[in-house]
Each structure stands twice: as structure tokens, then as C-alpha cells.
Amino acid sequence: MTSTRSLATDAVTVGYDDRVVVHDLSVSIPPGKVSVIVGANACGKSTLLKSMARLLKPQSGAVLLDGRSIAEQPTREVAKTLGLLPQTPTAPEGIVVADLVGRGRYPHRSFFGRWSDDDERAVNEALTLTGILDLADRPVDELSGGQRQRVWIALALAQRTDVLLLDEPTTFLDVSHQVEVLDLLTDLNLERGTTVVMVLHDLNLAARYADHLFAVKDGRLHSEGPSSEVVTSEMVREVFGMESRIVIDEVSGTPLVLPVGRHHSAQLRL
């Protein structure tokens, strides 16, 4: 039951006004897998994600959904296939959790559509998966940062798309919720075949959860592949400008990056 939707960028150059952030980047997102984009701050990973979500128009090149340029497809149709968790969404004042999540059903609802059982199911499922069902009638304004983040994730989940793009989904979440959310996304991927593409700032979580990793440096693709191949101390040095040691994570068997800073590196003489 793997998603067969293919998402790729073909030599896209993306920027804001006069500033080019992503240079001539071509990636092909493996369908039905969890892909993670990593890179230093301001390297263009969010910009890349936004262009893939058709939020930004590339200055050159194209984003291809199922082989066709995404810009040529009606945006509402695309919304049924591609969902996005944006970085800084705004919640209307006083809105209740269940209502906000409900708005994620918009692409699927017909013009005069009543609220259908399907919509109800999708919302409830989204609320349950993110563990906020008991917050359903609370106003979003009253929630903590972490709870609010989960509400927005639930909105993206309620959209029930084959491809899910998430820009830093772990912001504001404490470590247990971070892992919960990432586990949930993995469930989605395994059970429904949803293609998951996310930008993560935590390299170790990225290494653990990614089937396929993209390392971006200065708006260009540095390396890609499974974590075991991509996460090396050379990559960390070149992409993040940091010294590190790589060991194998005891728990997951994936590479674990041990940063070497100026302090607490007693064992090493550099």
C-alpha cells in the first residue's frame, strides 16, 4: 500500500526578491518512504520544502508532482495529495482545537458540502494520533507551545494526503513528544504508505528516522542516501562546520553524531 505519488524537483532555483537561496537543486523524493532534509541554519532546506509545496515559485526549474509540473495543476487538487505543516501558522483568535483541525478537511469538502462522517473520522483520527483528543474543545490560544504544535500536525494529518511535508515538526516539543510525533509519522508511512518529507534540525533524530537523507549546504545538495552512508564526520564538518565523532546508536542501530565542542571534550586532544 505504498504511495506511488512521486515528488521531485528539477534543477530549481528559488529565492526571495533579489536573494537566491536554493541553487539549481534536483532531488527525487523516494515514494512511500520517510525522507529527511538536514542542513545548517539558513542553508535553504525550508525554502526547498516550501518550493516543493508550491508555496514559492522557483525562478528557474520546476517542481514535479507525478511527473507534471506542480505549478500547472489546480492548487486545490494538489492539496488533496500534498499536505504541509508550515513553520509559523496563525490561529484565528478564540478558535477551538477541533474546529481548527477540521479546517484541514477543506480540500476534500465540496462546495455546499455538509460535514460528513468521513470528515469527522479524519478529524478524530488526527486528534487521537497526536494525542490531543481530550483537548478537542479547548481554545487554541490557551494551549502550550507543544500542544499547539500538535494541533497543527493534526490539521495536516486530517488533510489525509499521500504526501506529507513537514517543516520542523519537532519545534516546541519536549523530547518525549518529539519521539512520539516522529514515531507517529513512521506509523503513517508504514501503515498507509504516506510519503513523508521533513526538515529536521536534530541530526540524530534525522539519522534515526530517515529512510533517505538529504544534506543541503548553501542551497545545494551535498549528499543523499540512507543515514548510514550520509552521516559521516566529513559530512558534519562540511555541512555544519563542526567537528564530530560518529558512533552507532545503541537503541536504533543508526549513526549517532557526537559533537566535539570547545568544552567537555576531555578524552580528545585536537
Binding site: 496563525t90 478564540g94 478529524v123
Partner: protein
């Protein structure tokens, strides 16, 4: 039944009952407006007039004077209410109203010049007003356009032009002879005194077209409120939707202004009042009804309840604003939602 669904159902029920009450209020106001005046007519006479029968006395008073006036009052209330609510939600600012992009000031400025310097009357003023309003709206939109229309730029430029026109209006009022100035003042305050059957068709047709579109766009507005990124992700193109909303609001405001002048503050008041009566509500029906009730109530108050007659534009502020203030104060009390 899940908690979410139960809460949603309860809220919809509450909203429905409030909406029903609003409809009843509007109907009551219509009834009162039609029957009470210098002469009071009973319901049977009124109904017979509406049905087209000839009732001595009533046919003229109710049929030719009160009925068109009431209908126009209702229609402009609906138009202003919807336009104001759309703008406030789109700009996420409760101080917003279509005046923000200067439409009312454009209409008023041209009307004042027409009255003061050219001695225009009646339909000529209305036409001048529409032209003025649409021109200014276009100008503001054009000036704010730099590849796309950023909400912030639109607001600021609209304010600049609006304030400039406001100053021009004040100045013109000092340059023309005082009786012309008073007449101009009467127009820009908004009045239904010259509302006759002839004015109804254009207004009705315009509303027939624009109101359904407003209803349709309201759904998109709910998504737009989530921010440009979330909105685009859910399939609602932000800039195109904003343009559509601006066009609708400008259209509604212009036709309503042409009919009765810029009736003060209905566009501004209807939205917040509706929001407090229906917390969490997102439709255009409530602001439309509130707007209609406001104008009907204000016109009735202005023409019947006060020692001297006042045009509707004067009374809307006095009737609507204290109500809004009371709603604010009431919601401020501990336990209420802000």
C-alpha cells in the same frame, strides 16, 4: 459521539438559535418601520399593500414611501455588514473596514465636490459617488501592487489616501457656501430620505450577484485566516483570494454608498457585534443580519423616535456603538471570553 462532535453540535445549535433571533429582529424591525409613522397602519393593511392591492392612504405611504425605504435600508445594511466583516477577517484587524482603502472617502469627496461646486442633485450624486469610490479603490490597489499585493501595503496606502481625501472633504466644506456645505454634510452622513423604488433594482441586482459570491468566499477566508503558508498548502491561493475579497467588498460598499451615502460605521460595527453574538462563528450571514438590523433600527429611530428627524447615518453610531461597548464590557467580565 465524540467530545469534538458534541461540542461542534452544541455550538452550531447555539449559533442557529442566535441567527433565528437575528432574523426575527430584522423582521420585527421591518414590520415596525412599515406600520409606524405619521400614521400607523395595521398589519392587514400592510400585507394588502405588499400584495399589490390598492388601499387608500396606505398604498402611497406604505407602498411608495416606507416599503422602498425599508427594503433599501435592509439591503445597504446587509451590504455594509458583509463588506466590513470580510475586510476585518481578511486583514485580521478589528479596526479595518472597507474605508481602509479609502472607498467611502473617495465617494464622499467626489460627492461633496459635485454638490458644492456643481450643484448636483439626486442620481447625479450617486453616479459621481460610485465613480469616486471605484476610482479610489483602483488607485489604492494599483499603488499597492508591486508584483503582489501585500496586505500591509494595501492598508497603509489606503489609509494615506483616505486621510488625504478626508482632509480635502473638510476643506471643501469650508470653501463652499454654507447651505451647500450643509447639504453636502447631509449626504456624506448617509441618509435614506431620497430612497424610492427607482433605487431598488440596481441595488438588489448588485446584491443578488455579490452576496452569494461573498458566501462562497467566506469558506476560503476561513482557510486564509490560518496564514499564507497554511492557506496555500490547503489549496487556497492567498493573493488571488484577497483580491477577490477586495473586489466583493468594494462592489458592495460602492452600490450601498450610491444608494444612501456612506452610512457611518455599519461596516465597522457589524463585524464585531456579530462576532460577540456568535463566538467562533465565521459566516457572513450574521454580519449581514446585524448590518440590516442596525440600519433599519437606526433609520426608524432617526425618523420616528426622536424629537427631530435625523438621517440614518447620524443614528447608526449612537445606536450601534453603545451596544458594541456593552458587548465588550460584558465579555470583559471574569469568566467571559474576550
Amino acid at each position: 459521539m465524540t467530545a469534538a462532535r458534541a461540542a461542534r453540535r452544541a455550538r452550531l445549535r447555539r449559533h442557529r438559535s442566535v441567527l433565528v433571533v437575528l432574523v426575527l429582529v430584522v423582521v420585527a424591525l421591518l414590520a415596525v418601520t412599515l406600520s409606524i409613522g405619521e400614521r400607523i397602519y395595521g398589519p392587514s393593511e400592510i400585507i394588502r399593500v405588499i400584495l399589490g392591492q390598492d388601499v387608500p392612504g396606505a398604498s402611497f405611504t406604505v407602498g411608495r414611501l416606507r416599503l422602498p425605504r425599508a427594503i433599501i435600508a435592509l439591503l445597504i445594511g446587509v451590504a455594509f455588514g458583509i463588506a466590513g466583516s470580510l475586510f476585518q477577517r481578511m486583514l485580521r484587524n478589528p479596526l479595518a473596514s472597507p474605508d481602509i482603502i479609502g472607498i467611502s472617502y473617495g465617494s464622499s469627496a467626489v460627492a461633496v465636490v459635485a454638490i458644492g461646486f456643481f450643484g448636483a442633485t439626486g442620481p447625479a450624486i450617486s453616479i459621481a459617488a460610485i465613480i469616486g469610490g471605484l476610482t479610489v479603490a483602483l488607485l489604492v490597489y494599483f499603488l499597492a501592487w508591486r508584483g503582489n499585493v501585500h496586505g500591509a501595503r494595501l492598508i497603509l496606502i489606503g489609509i494615506a489616501i483616505g486621510t488625504m481625501l478626508f482632509a480635502v472633504i473638510q476643506w471643501v466644506l469650508t470653501r463652499i457656501e454654507v447651505y451647500k456645505a450643509a447639504e453636502a454634510l447631509r449626504w456624506i452622513t448617509g441618509s435614506l430620505n431620497s430612497a424610492f423604488w427607482g433605487d431598488v433594482p440596481p441595488l438588489a441586482i448588485a446584491l443578488l450577484v455579490l452576496v452569494p459570491v461573498a458566501f462562497a468566499v467566506s469558506g476560503r477566508l476561513k482557510i486564509l485566516e490560518l496564514g499564507d503558508e497554511a492557506s496555500a498548502a490547503l489549496g487556497v491561493a492567498p493573493n488571488r483570494t484577497r483580491l477577490l475579497i477586495v473586489v466583493i467588498a468594494v462592489g458592495l460598499t460602492s452600490v450601498a454608498t450610491a444608494a444612501a451615502g456612506p452610512v457611518a460605521f455599519v461596516a465597522f460595527l457589524a463585524g464585531p457585534i456579530a462576532a460577540r453574538l456568535l463566538p467562533g462563528g465565521t459566516g457572513v450571514l450574521a454580519p449581514a443580519l446585524v448590518g440590516g438590523a442596525l440600519v433599519l433600527g437606526a433609520d426608524f429611530t432617526g425618523s420616528q423616535l426622536l424629537p427631530t428627524t435625523f438621517p440614518v447615518g447620524v443614528v447608526t453610531g449612537v445606536v450601534g456603538a453603545p451596544y458594541l461597548l456593552w458587548l465588550i464590557a460584558r465579555s470583559n467580565r471574569p469568566g467571559g471570553t474576550s
